[in-house]
């Protein structure tokens, strides 16, 4: 491996209760610096749980999780990642500015530096002039942009996103997709992005990880070789449709054997251990 992985998962399994449901089974995945990796799969496949395992918000039952060359717990304590949830999770007693500054306050930045950084971020997510608004005065899409600005505020190397645009309408979602790509390229951070939208996964990612139905396993990994920077025209390219079809096929294969553990299924697993 030429570059050290930002996130490295080895044989990660998560089950609930003694002998209970297995949500994640034998997950092996490496995410390299600067990658944009999407996790896609049917609901209940454990993709959100996998994201939380990386963020040390959920502890795996077994396996190894290395983030930035250290344990996931240490990485969380060192504030190595920013996270964006499906809901914006803004604190409604704080203004937009104060919400973005929350992590900076916790990190003990001085006021002047906070103000300067918040100004930059409002510009980045194109919300200049909304700094002193209350969250509930903004639309859903604007709230989510505030949430992204908050996650980026302390410039973490890794951004974890859990279906951030899932609750938004299609138009807003596509616009925010393009914005996110711009932000990703500007910030140079690594992104792990959970979604259940195939076109969103293909449009955004450099790699799409297809997960199978419970117990969640990696069914396939599709390299998305669309040229950067991508824009609205990217969605019209024949290659885009080919990739969407490929991801859809992989999803279908992964989802077919809902209950069984057919031996043939293992063939779909593309291991990432030997690049």
């Amino acid at each position: 491996m030429s570059e050290q992985a930002v996130v490295s998962l080895r044989n990660v399994t998560k089950s609930f209760g003694a002998g209970g449901v297995t949500e994640l089974q034998s997950i092996d995945l490496d995410v390299r610096p600067g990658e944009f990796v999407s996790l896609i799969g049917p609901s209940g496949c454990g993709k959100s749980t996998l994201l939380r395992v990386v963020g040390d918000l959920v502890e795996p039952s077994s396996g190894e999780v290395i983030v930035n060359g250290k344990s996931a717990r240490q990485a969380r304590r060192d504030r190595d990642y920013g996270i964006v949830f499906q809901d914006a999770v803004l604190y409604d007693w704080r203004t937009v500015e104060k919400n973005i500054a929350l992590p900076l306050e916790l990190l003990g930045w001085d006021k002047g530096r906070q103000t300067e950084r918040v100004r930059e971020l409002l510009e980045l997510v194109e919300l200049q002039g909304f700094g002193s608004h209350r969250p509930w005065q903004l639309s859903g899409g604007m709230q989510q942009r505030v949430s992204i600005a908050r996650a980026l505020s302390f410039a973490p190397a890794l951004l974890l996103m859990d279906e951030p645009f899932g609750a938004l309408d299609e138009m807003t979602r596509e616009r925010l997709n393009s914005e996110l790509l711009r932000i990703w390229q500007a910030s140079g951070s690594t992104v792990i992005f959970v979604t259940h939208s195939i076109s969103e996964a293909v449009f955004l990612s450099t790699r799409t990880v297809v997960m199978s139905r419970r117990p969640g396993r990696i069914a396939a990994i599709v390299d998305v070789d669309l040229a950067q920077p991508r824009n609205a025209d990217t969605r019209e390219e024949p290659r885009f449709f080919e990739l969407v079809t490929e991801v859809r096929d992989r999803l279908r294969e992964g989802g077919l054997d809902e209950e069984s553990t057919a031996p043939g299924e293992g063939e779909l697993v593309v291991s990432e251990e030997t690049p």
């Binding site: 969380r76 996270i83 949830f85 999770v89 007693w93 929350l102 992590p103 005065q137 989510q144």
Partner: protein, 299 residues
């Protein structure tokens, strides 16, 4: 919380609208006041003219003095060649207000700290919550004399007597605050907590940056109950403490002369009610200033 659901930006109220809203609430207040006055005087007039009795109750100037008589008593001497009743009651109200204010502050602080401790230590909550609830099932009239006996000898001269009354007032205040603080601190959105965890925030930071702001509407709901209750506690506390300078003393005094001068007791009750209401309004004002939440979170 107000996340994606409330999607549309709301325009701020115009000044004109705000003035109209204020005028409407003042008008409503006056209308209700007049209606209550009419109800009282109407019932009294009806009872007096028909001689109708409700059980033992007979409407007359002793049982139901005219409202205007009650109000005008305030501006008559409280005794022959004495000061006006309103001056006597004003001084008494200030004295009781001091007891209640100290009791309220003490009780609110104890209630908050207790609620925070119970929220933080589940074992403490299981062990102590039943006793905290039990403390409120004991009638305040039974507790008050004991508090006076226990607390008074330990108080410095400046706090003598009225300090004990403040403690009794605090006894009525702390309970709703403790219960609602506990409830508010523990009903935080789990995703908001997950966010704090992602920042590796310690529990002290989580308390002050997330739990307390999120619990403020709960805490203020309790403070609004506790504020008038602290006045009631102070008035009741004055009785076993044999304090003459407060509204409790005034009530006891005018109660003895009720047969000859019923309006004085009624006037005292009126002042006591106004004191309780002003305590409530102060808390309401503090809430307006302190709680800045999405509209659906403001009680």
């Amino acid at each position: 919380m107000a996340y994606a659901a409330s999607a549309t930006a709301r325009p701020p109220l115009l000044d004109r609208e705000r003035t109209r809203n204020a005028a409407a609430s003042v008008g409503l207040f006056l209308a209700v006041l007049i209606a209550l006055w009419a109800l009282w005087e109407g019932f009294k007039a009806f009872g007096e003219s028909t001689g109708l009795r409700l059980g033992q109750f007979e409407a007359n100037d002793r049982t139901m003095p005219h409202i205007h008589d009650i109000v005008s008593t305030l501006f008559e001497p409280s005794r022959r060649n004495g000061p006006l009743l309103i001056d006597v009651l004003w001084d008494a109200a200030l004295f009781t207000a001091k007891e209640a204010a100290v009791g309220f502050t003490l009780g609110a602080l104890i209630g908050f700290v207790l609620g925070a401790l119970l929220a933080h230590f589940v074992l403490l909550q299981r062990g102590f919550l039943p006793y905290i609830v039990a403390s409120q099932t004991i009638p305040i009239l039974a507790v008050a004399p004991m508090v006076v006996v226990w607390v008074n000898p330990r108080l410095p001269p400046g706090l003598k007597d009225w300090g004990a009354v403040a403690v009794i007032s605090a006894y009525l205040t702390f309970f709703p605050v403790a219960i609602n603080t506990l409830r508010g601190l523990t009903s935080v959105d789990p995703r908001a907590l997950e966010l704090m965890r992602s920042y590796a925030a310690g529990s002290w930071k989580v308390l002050w940056k997330l739990r307390v702001p999120a619990a403020l509407p709960f805490i203020f709901a309790a403070l609004k109950i506790a504020a008038p209750a602290s006045v009631v506690g102070a008035i009741i506390g004055e009785l076993p403490a044999s304090i003459q300078n407060g509204l409790g003393g005034a009530i006891l005094n005018f109660n003895q002369y009720y047969v000859t001068a019923p309006t004085r007791l009624w006037a005292t009750n009126l002042i006591a009610a106004l004191l309780g209401i002003s305590f409530f309004l102060v808390v309401l004002l503090a809430e307006r200033l302190a709680v800045r939440r999405a509209p659906e979170h403001v009680a």
